[in-house]
Symmetry: C2
Subunit: 289 residues, 2 copies
């Protein structure tokens, strides 16, 4: 019966038609980011804050930190929760270094379903792939209140022409981002829903730790079950199911904008998680063989 349905001309949206979800209001506390300290400046680093930590990590891995990066971080902007930072089709040539708060990049399909491509946490760059093109490739939306540095393509090109280290760093950033996208493809393509959610939780935990946020036992997470579903190619209902399973089996707990890692090692085992791909240092973008 089901086979017959998979005709080449689907009679109607058989899969995912949540037109309301895509436009649902985000009602998260405007000062969500108050949950963690804004300034985590290392000593003697080029840039303060979570992006500075990323730069530091890059340097520790043998990259030469670009001296001109500071000059790019001049124009600070703030976005309220739910605001479209960037929209598909907008003029490109812009990106944002997230300093505080969370954003996500996404695309909406004809039938109204939405796919979240990536989530940006402090220290991440939103819209990096829209920087070198005339029109933005996808939407970027603020989940919480967001503080970010606006980066203009012109300025980047100017800086690159006299600072090859900056070019190398941006290339590294883009490659890291591609690793994250690769893992998302693997998640959605070849992992069960439980593995997928578990893996995503651990990815977030690791990325936030690298930004100086959260502890071994948990981290702040403003993602609703709707957003989690849209990020993982699941429905919010199924995310709810999976989250309940993780909770009852004592692995993780999602509650009021906070994810508790109750049993991180078991969770990693379930997810087949290895943090290597996030550090840009290890054995690849999936679990070790």
């Amino acid at each position: 019966m089901g086979r017959e349905q998979s005709s080449a001309t689907p009679k109607g949206p058989r899969r995912h038609t949540p037109p309301a979800e895509a436009t649902r209001n985000l009602r998260l506390a405007a000062d969500f980011h108050a949950a963690y300290p804004p300034e985590l400046t290392g000593d003697g680093v080029l840039v303060p804050g979570p992006f500075g930590l990323k730069l530091e990590r890059y340097a520790l891995q043998g990259g030469r930190p670009p001296r001109s990066i500071r000059s790019l971080m001049a124009h600070k902007r703030t976005f309220e929760p739910g605001v479209q930072v960037m929209q598909q089709g907008d003029a490109g040539g812009v990106a944002y270094i997230i300093e505080q708060g969370w954003t996500f990049s996404s695309s909406v399909l004809r039938n109204g379903s939405r796919q979240i491509l990536d989530v940006q946490v402090p220290g991440d760059v939103a819209g990096l792939q829209s920087l070198p093109v005339p029109t933005a490739a996808n939407d970027v939306t603020a989940i919480t209140k967001v503080h970010a540095f606006e980066i203009q393509l012109d300025a980047v090109m100017d800086a690159i022409s006299s600072d090859a280290d900056l070019a190398a760093f941006i290339f590294w950033l883009a490659a890291r981002q591609n690793d994250v996208a690769s893992v998302r493809i693997i998640d959605i393509g070849r992992r069960t829903s439980v593995e997928r959610v578990a893996h995503f939780i651990l990815e977030l935990a690791t990325r936030l730790r690298l930004a100086g946020i959260g502890t071994d036992s948990g981290f702040p997470c403003p993602l609703t079950q709707y957003l989690l579903g849209d990020a993982l190619g699941l429905t919010s209902v199924h995310v709810n199911r999976v989250l309940r399973d993780l909770r009852t089996s004592g692995l993780a707990h999602h509650q009021r904008g906070w994810i508790s890692l109750l049993n991180a090692s078991e969770l990693s085992a379930v997810a087949g998680f290895s943090s290597a791909y996030l550090r840009g240092t290890g054995t690849g973008c999936t679990d070790a063989m």
Copy 2:
């Protein structure tokens, strides 16, 4: 019943356990690429062949073609079908500009299932995200016999230091690749199997046309149904069904390494396909709203 099964500690691989698929031999003709002409050099461009066409397109979109690119394309290599060009965990710092033939990048999970992250056709760069890191992030395998230029990180860094245009071009390449990855995430996350296959076929058709390969009515495609499944997060069995549906509804036909576009406009409608994301020029990475 199904609900109870989705426990946090799956009793066994409930989904996708094709250990044989990952290591299945590729039996494609070694001279597959003979199907299309090797040399498609434009006049007066910096570089001959499909990669030159990509460079040309970059220039047409306002990018300044890097003069130093030619010096990077010195070391030509050949790979036989099925050969691992690059393996997860290998030393990084290398990438390949594909001149002839097809490759794919992939990752293998614990349970033996494999996810293909992207397919590289002539003019594409394989392993770009492994170039700026010490260890390769994923596997790259030759599908057909492949001729490629081996690019070393050292040479790239040297060239960048005196040619900012090259840095900008590489950044553009990485961003384009990210767009393709984004579309794959959308495919697998939010499209039905039919939409997914149809979209992938059209993506391949467009990418190949941009490389000077194929016509409006079809293109060479050495991907087996196993490979298609691994690329699209489906099983080969299901790909077979979908392909049959597309065939019987007169939209596309896959046969002996060749895909015929029987009704491209209807196929595009089914897939919700827009080629904008591949040209780096348009309105984004999904269908227009």
